[in-house]
Symmetry: C2
Subunit: 385 residues, 2 copies
């Protein structure tokens, strides 16, 4: 049920004509309160899209009444005109939603090709259409409207003790920590203030979206928002609420990896025996980004030497002669050298599990990645995206 699973929210997704092919490309999510609490995390790319700059400011204000999202154009690297367009988009949403909303409470998110101005002559009328289509079961349509190269729309929900966290996500390429090319909107009817939302959201994204690495490329537009309406009237225990937010983020992150551009394998990289969690994450990301290993996994080749060569490029604490690597449970590398027979490894399933044991400490981390395929090359070379 996506962003309308929680009480107090309406949503819509429509085709405004931003995409040349006529597919849905504009989504609107509205918080009807009583609370308008919100939190957000954004890309750590220093080249940020206009809507990211805008929404960061909106979040500082503390209240988010609505989120408008478009696919079909990232509005990144578009200069002052791009920022004016984002501003005009927020003003238009505030106008059509009526007296209860002002532009400073409207978050904006965009996704699509970088370096192209949005067709405002289509986007602004589209906002009127979307506002007219708002409904308490519009979450699905909104999730569909934010797709770019996604083959399926992504939603997740967790319901606990009278309150709900629901969400939608898009993202299929340019997926790398900090964050990925993703737009995510989460909503909840739990009665939670902004500071608590912020804490729960940062804690959740740190171990979910931030540990997804499809292709090592960090986007200019990543936005993850969490809005609370308080409509359930229930004030949840923090731990319970944080876990619900984490579980929805984890579910959506896993769906992003499962639908990554051209991928034929989902790779679960677990680094164990690390001296610190930072070491485990650094090693996991290095493995996740090794093109040669990603190709080998595509070819169902348990080429553990490429895992070791990736580990060797990091600054993590380890002794090369004590490293162990398992692929799908077979310890093909022991003590930095040949281990169990690699022919014992079956890699037929879509999910491939790599375990890298640094044999140094007790910390661990899991990173999800994809294989590298000819289809990925085709999707990203045959046309601009």
């Amino acid at each position: 049920m996506s962003v309308t699973a929680a009480q107090g929210f309406t949503a819509a997704g429509i085709a405004a004509g931003i995409k040349a092919n006529g597919n849905p490309d504009l989504a609107l999510v509205v918080n009807h309160g009583p609370r308008l609490a919100a939190a957000g995390v954004f890309t750590s790319n220093r080249v940020k899209a206009a809507p990211v700059h805008w929404s960061e400011q909106v979040l500082r204000g503390g209240a988010v009444g609505a989120v408008v999202l478009n696919s079909g154009g990232a509005n990144a690297c578009t200069g002052p005109k791009g920022f004016q367009d984002t501003h005009a988009t927020a003003e238009k949403v505030a106008d059509v939603l009526g007296a209860d909303f002002n532009a400073g409470e409207i978050a904006v998110a965009s996704t699509g090709l970088i370096g192209v101005l949005l067709p405002m002559d289509k986007l602004l009328p589209g906002i009127e259409t979307a506002a007219a289509a708002l409904s308490a079961d519009g979450g699905e349509a909104a999730a569909i409207a934010i797709k770019t190269t996604d083959t399926v729309h992504k939603t997740a929900t967790a319901s606990v003790g009278g309150w709900t966290v629901g969400g939608m996500a898009k993202g299929a390429g340019m997926l790398a920590p900090g964050l990925a090319t993703m737009l995510v909107v989460l909503t909840t009817d739990a009665d939670v203030d902004g500071a608590t939302l912020d804490k729960a959201l940062r804690s959740a994204t740190r171990t979910t979206f931030d540990r997804v690495d499809s292709d090592g490329c960090m986007s200019t537009n990543d936005t993850v928002l969490l809005l609370a309406s308080g409509a359930s009237g229930v004030v949840p225990a923090y731990a319970e609420f944080a876990e619900a937010v984490r579980s929805v983020c984890d579910d959506l992150a896993r769906q992003l990896i499962g639908d990554a551009e051209g991928a034929s394998k989902d790779i679960r990289i677990e680094v164990v025996g690390a001296a610190s969690e930072d070491d485990a994450v650094e090693v996991g990301r290095s493995i996740a980004r090794n093109n040669l290993l990603k190709c080998a996994i595509h070819g169902e080749d348990p080429n553990w030497g490429r895992v070791l060569s990736a580990i060797g490029t990091t600054r993590a604490a380890f002794d090369p002669d004590r490293l162990n690597v398992a692929i799908n449970g077979v310890w093909v590398c022991k003590n930095g050298s040949v281990g169990e027979d690699r022919d014992l490894v079956s890699m037929k399933d879509r999910e491939v599990r790599i375990t890298a044991d640094l044999a140094t400490g007790t910390e661990s981390a899991v990173i999800w990645a994809n294989d590298l395929t000819a289809e990925y090359v085709h999707e990203n070379s045959a046309y601009s995206s």
Copy 2:
């Protein structure tokens, strides 16, 4: 003329049966003096192959009488037995070359699949065959014997004022700074001591092999050796000698990029206007490793947004709103936004030039990279390498 262009060297390349397909796989280069001066640089990967550990020790001794190189197996991640095999290889070379040589003066280099022991029953007899084939025009055969997935062998020579620097290189994948998957042997008959060789070699590799980034993957086996026989009797001026070494390294590095696995484009990335050379190199490498950009260039799509998103992931000094990017001379991005018409960019040629202007300072650097193609994926997924 490769490693035998300089006086005082003989070389050979033969098929020892290490490669299953019967292609040449063993090369020997011998320095007949009067000097046995040498310098070397090795991979900065912390997971190092046995021959790298061995040859680093040999270099510390200061004298290198011969280099034995094999393709068909990297002897990396092979534990104590792998190191024993490298030691035995050096002992065998010293034995067959006679009383003037000892094992501690024999450098060893290997390339091929990681995690597999070398077939010593073939390698050791191969050394006898290679020694018998040594000749003053064996440089070409040696260059051929070190190929792995290289489609052509690579040699270069510079002759200046009575002395010569010549060399051979292999490398087609796992090419990334620090160094790439490359084996390089350079020889000179200039009369130069070890310290001078070391200075000239480090200076040369810093701006040549270390600025080649085919696929972002750093190898366990990279070795670049420079041997001096002094046979010309000429002591060159340092600047002249360093420039000759640099020009041969540059030529070989360019050949590596031109023959990278599956590549259809050679990408020259020049970062200008940087606050420091380190900033320029960091930005250049980030652009060089962006898979989405590499795909776009394969598709002849001047997708400058992907250049900006790559720059944005670095710590270099820049203002996103002042960045400029040219592709093949057309400034498609100005001041962080849309610049000249991208339709003016022609990308038909194999060489593609990207200029990224950080508009912050006066430093610059050039990094060479390749596009990402379905052929790269095929070469690295269809079989173990």
